[in-house]
């Protein structure tokens, strides 16, 4: 017999369940006194460089009903396209930029809101520019493994057309599911549809 590779298997995912907010946003659920504030509440501060934007949206199930028990996280680059992570070796990110946000959605409507800045351009592996985008990760009761998608901006038409990820999507008719609609000055709407008509593209990445 040949040698063993001797690798471990990743821990299998399990659903976040109906009470993910207890663990990840306890103050939101009314559990006060353990943490000063919920993590992921503030992505930017007054000194952060870049154009202020607000991203709003909801997550819909296959019947068109909005989820009210989801947890939505986003991760994106600073105004210069640099990530505030030691894994990004291209330079120092804006020290006033967190890059990561988390929202439990509104208790009644399920709407998530992120106050942040518009990300800059980061390179694809071959150096071509990727259009400004925001990585989304969605978990909830009934979601067995976290769903990853990307949000692009409707006012970046030329950049989107040249984006190496969007270019690789075979069913062009589905690309609009990844593009947030500009609804006002600095205001974007990005709804996520888990299943059925207009089902959002999710990535195995």
């Amino acid at each position: 017999m040949q040698q063993k590779l001797d690798r471990l298997k990743e821990s299998p995912s399990q659903t976040a369940g109906p009470y993910v907010h207890i663990g990840c946003t306890p103050n939101f659920t009314g559990i006060h006194g353990i943490y000063d504030e919920d993590l992921g509440t503030r992505i930017i501060n007054d000194k952060t460089k870049g154009e202020r934007i607000t991203i709003r949206g909801r997550v819909f199930d296959g019947t068109g009903t909005p989820l009210r028990d989801a947890l939505i996280e986003i991760w994106h680059a600073d105004a210069n396209g640099i990530y505030p992570s030691p894994e990004d070796k291209r330079g120092e990110a804006d020290p006033n930029f967190r890059g990561w946000g988390r929202s439990p959605g509104d208790m009644e409507t399920g709407e998530f809101v992120f106050e942040t800045i518009k990300p800059g351009v980061a390179p694809f592996k071959d150096g071509r520019p990727m259009a400004p985008h925001v990585t989304f990760w969605v978990v909830a009761r009934g979601i067995n493994i976290g769903l990853q998608t990307r949000m692009y901006f409707s006012d970046e038409k030329a950049a989107n057309e040249a984006d190496p990820i969007l270019q690789r999507i075979e069913h062009k008719v589905r690309i609009p599911t990844l593009i947030a609609e500009k609804t006002g000055d600095g205001e974007y709407r990005f709804d996520i549809r888990l299943q059925g008509d207009g089902e959002t593209i999710f990535f195995d990445i």
């Binding site: 298997k9 995912s13 976040a16 559990i31 990530y83 979601i143 067995n144 299943q195 990535f203």
Partner: protein, 246 residues
């Protein structure tokens, strides 16, 4: 080149046959919350290889102690005192230091502290049910809590969750983001739970069952369970073409 630096490429492809599928009708809520279309596969970009950093200084003194972090002065929650400890490793058995772990659970009676929770077991005024910690240089972590109780849930008319602790895990890249659950050795409910059964193989299920660990038990105080968590490993970039200036 140092070995440590070589393993900074894309994360290994996720084994989707090892994880539960999105659509698992035995767990009814998944039926309308699972994408129909195939996921679109893409090798990681800088957007997935990177991830947020959490500093040890954000962790409060009692954040990893669910026995004390919500209890009133001089009081304690009811239930079996336990320690859960282990390491966060990647698929190549490398420790993952600086990993943020967030955990949440029901109290000893199987009741969650949540507005939408209706189970008739009572809340424990001294138990909040959440905590967090960050792994040390060797990937190790430790928490103290009350052993959670099993509880009924609306799926089949008589489905019960085995005792479990939820874990949310951040590694070094956003592609490693994971939520899972820890179960306890010897619990007969594990093998009849529809949520557990969404995991395709017995071997994968067993990787979420924490054994009792008498060597880490504190005599006359708290039993210990060992729970290691494995995150995606990553490829070496040693022989990969690099971008100009990188």
């Amino acid at each position: 080149m140092a070995d440590k630096d070589a393993h900074n490429g894309a994360f290994y492809q996720r084994d989707r046959e090892w994880h539960p599928p999105a659509y698992a009708p035995i767990y009814k809520t998944s039926v309308k919350r699972s994408p129909n279309a195939a996921l679109i596969s893409l090798d990681n970009t800088i957007s997935e290889i990177t991830g947020p950093v959490f500093g040890h200084n954000m962790i409060g003194e009692y954040d990893n102690d669910l026995i004390q972090n919500y209890a009133k002065a001089g009081e304690l929650p009811i239930g079996q005192r336990i320690i859960v400890h282990g390491r966060v490793l990647d698929e190549d058995r490398r420790p993952v230091p600086g990993a943020l772990l967030e955990f949440w659970q029901a109290n000893a009676g199987g009741r969650y502290r949540h507005k939408k929770e209706t189970y008739l077991a009572p809340l424990d005024p001294n138990f909040g049910g959440c905590g967090r910690t960050i792994t040390a240089e060797d990937g190790s972590y430790r928490l103290r809590t009350i052993k959670p109780g099993p509880y009924p849930w609306p799926n089949g008319v008589n489905d019960w969750r085995p005792a479990h602790i939820h874990f949310s895990v951040f590694g070094h890249g956003f592609a490693q983001r994971l939520i899972t659950q820890m179960y306890f050795e010897g619990d007969p409910l594990i093998w009849i739970c529809p949520i557990v059964k969404t995991i395709p193989s017995k071997e994968a299920i067993e990787s979420l069952i924490a054994p009792i660990d008498m060597e880490n038990t504190i005599p006359m105080d708290a039993r210990a369970y060992k729970f290691d968590i494995v995150l995606r490993g990553r490829r070496s970039t040693m022989f990969e073409n690099r971008m100009e200036g990188n």
